[in-house]
């Protein structure tokens, strides 16, 4: 499959320039699909919740709202650092700063996932399991789906970091991996408000 090319009439630019690489286009399609997946989960959750007399059920433990809010800030900071890493990567001689910022972004993303895992262990300890109630089932399904996406995106970013260190990272693949991480960061506040605050 060919990349999309267009004649660039701007002075100083190369005559033929790809304006949307295949990898980026594929990532946009993938993220659009994932948006619909999470929209379906949100819809199912909203409808089941609307039919329940008590939500969350009285016998289930309460979710750690404040701690997860702080953890959410960690994830947002990770997204911001990735944005800054891209800025540094785009300028000449900014590779070192980009490497440092990307590494920090990965570390913060990993902290978010690890804290979520720690939270799950505690909740399971309190008796909140996948089968204990519909509420718990939805919690693990939605937050787990997000967590699995976060793990996959961190893995992708780690590969990008390895390539960046070896000076082999291309702008298009870095852009595609950023789209994936921005999706993971962007969808979380919606899920947090829906699952933790309602």
């Amino acid at each position: 499959m060919e990349s999309a090319f267009i004649e660039n009439k701007n002075p100083g630019a190369s005559r033929v320039t790809p304006f949307l690489p295949n990898g980026v286009l594929a990532m946009i399609f993938f993220v659009a699909m994932e948006v619909m997946f999470f929209a379906a989960l949100i819809s199912a959750y909203t409808i089941v919740k609307s039919g329940a007399l008590f939500w969350p059920p009285p016998e289930q433990p309460r979710l750690p709202v404040t701690a997860t809010a702080i953890n959410s800030l960690v994830l947002l900071a990770s997204g911001w650092l990735l944005f800054k890493a891209n800025k540094s990567f785009s300028v000449k001689g900014g590779q070192e700063a980009a490497t440092r910022l990307l590494r920090l972004s990965i570390i913060l993303g990993s902290v978010f996932v690890l804290f979520q895992g720690f939270e799950w262990v505690r909740l399971i300890g309190y008796g909140m399991t996948m089968t204990s109630s519909t509420y718990a089932g939805f919690f693990y399904l939605i937050v787990g789906a997000h967590g699995s996406h976060a793990v996959a995106a961190i893995f992708v970013l780690a590969i990008m970091l390895g390539k960046l260190k070896k000076n082999q990272l291309g702008q298009s693949e870095f852009w595609a991996s950023q789209i994936f991480w921005y999706f993971v960061v962007g969808v979380w506040p919606v899920l947090y408000i829906l699952v933790y605050l309602n």
Binding site: E7, N10, A32, G51, S90, G170
Partner: protein, 83 residues
């Protein structure tokens, strides 16, 4: 029309009753007002979201093409380094 075709037509015509079943389904587990509102909202979400995403993508794509063609304000392309 032979008997097989008539039977097929008769079976297909039963689809006329399907929307009634589908309508009943929205309140089959809860007849509360909140559930009805939730159904409307989530239907709007699942209908509007793909259209919004497609529209946004087309808008952005056209804008980017215009920039590359030099019609609009020029911004330095960031993706021409490695391809």
């Amino acid at each position: 029309m032979n008997i097989r075709q008539k039977l097929t037509l008769a079976l297909l015509s039963t689809a006329v009753w399907l929307p009634h079943s589908a309508l009943a389904c929205s309140v089959c587990f809860s007849a509360r007002e909140e559930t009805r509102v939730a159904f409307y909202l989530t239907t709007a979400l699942l209908t509007g979201l793909p259209l919004l995403m497609l529209g946004s993508f087309v808008f952005w794509y056209r804008k980017r093409i215009r920039q590359f063609e030099g019609d609009g304000p020029f911004s330095e392309p960031t993706l021409d380094q490695d391809l």
